[in-house]
Symmetry: C2
Subunit: 231 residues, 2 copies
């Protein structure tokens, strides 16, 4: 497959960071918003802790297994498309050769310049199909082992995130005090998480930190309002 080791490594690191970001941003936000919402509507920290941990388990499993299946689907999708492309180079080679030519025409090559390139690429079926996968479909071969790692990373990040807003309700019997402490530690955690996320993804860290705090704040405020209205 025509990709340098440098590129592959870049993608793997990015994928892990992405999984941590996916799991932790929801893990910090949803259990926080749910428990904050409930604290305005129910009278017992026991119910809030129960709901918070039930949500954390449900969210971690749903997102983790979801990530696992998404990873498996990527692998299967790639293999299915690759098999289809391979068949097409056998069934309608002229059409597929013309698709290679179209790519090079779009880069400004004239037919005489393009001819040897097309001949070289289509001389080897593996190479030909690799080229079509990348150029026609924009698909990279996914790593088969990623699905499992991805699932675990997402689920553990969700739990790690969720424990932060829940911890005050575990140790403080007074709901009002626990809510304030939960808001405090979660806002700090969202800020730090957003800042680090920004550094990793190449955005301005401070803007990323503020955005992350805002998402958590808006989600919690709406959950609070809705719980108050219903409860």
């Amino acid at each position: 497959m025509p990709a340098t080791p440098h590129v592959e490594k870049h993608f793997t690191a990015a994928a892990t960071v992405r999984d941590v970001v996916i799991g932790m941003s929801d893990g910090l936000t949803v259990p926080f918003a749910l428990t904050a919402g409930l604290s305005g509507a129910v009278g017992s920290t026991a119910v809030i802790v129960t709901a918070g941990f039930a949500e954390m388990a449900a969210g971690a499993i749903a997102m983790g297994l979801g990530g696992y299946l998404a990873g498996r689907t990527d692998v299967e999708h790639f293999e299915a498309e690759r098999a289809r492309e391979t068949q097409e180079t056998q069934r309608v080679p002229d059409l597929e050769r013309e698709e290679v030519a179209t790519v090079f025409r779009s880069y400004g090559l004239n037919p005489a310049e393009a001819a040897p390139v097309i001949a070289a690429i289509t001389a080897d079926r593996e190479r030909w199909v690799d080229f079509m996968m990348r150029f026609e479909l924009g698909l990279e071969r996914p790593e088969p082992a990623r699905a499992r790692t991805s699932a675990l990373t997402i689920a553990l990040s969700y739990v790690a995130g969720g424990l932060i807003p829940l911890s005050p309700y575990l140790v403080m019997p007074n709901i009002q005090a626990a809510l304030l402490a939960s808001v405090g530690v979660t806002m700090i955690a969202l800020f730090v998480f957003g800042y680090v996320k920004g550094t990793f993804t190449g955005l301005r860290p401070l803007r990323s930190a503020v955005q992350t705090v805002l998402i958590g704040g808006v989600a919690a405020a709406v959950a609070f309002a809705i719980a108050r209205l219903i409860g």
Copy 2:
């Protein structure tokens, strides 16, 4: 940009399907698992409904805004990488030209065949950078308008999913009966959703349906066990 309209259309449809899948699979699963978990631990449907709606709001906002920011990040990441590549073709043109040559060498072209292709691609800076973006970095230009559409699609799909497991608790005063009804309608919804998802993503629909039901079932069972243990 060297991409056929056919390819662009394929990607947009896939992105919308992906957003619905992201929102609805979590929307069907997490509120279902949370309310099922709570129904084994608390004695009032009012608390379950409050927690369910607070979770639905928190989840929809967290996922929707998260999707919005992810979309914006994709656009900014692409623009930043593109600016960097453009600079590199100006600062170290020989190195960048060599990277184009490496790509064609990996497809089996000899230097004499590759020379005119490299010359044609590097003759136009836009084309050159487009080529590097796609081949060296594997990046496609994201649609700028997608972030907002993506956010709305994810959030609404989450709410649409969440209303299904919550509805029995709204109309049935008996917790045990509401739980059974919620399990019933949600399992059916997960099955249908998984089946349709499988059809869209090109997987075997029945397998997709069973997997989706299993994720919801496992998440709900663990949430139920945890809520029972704590509550």
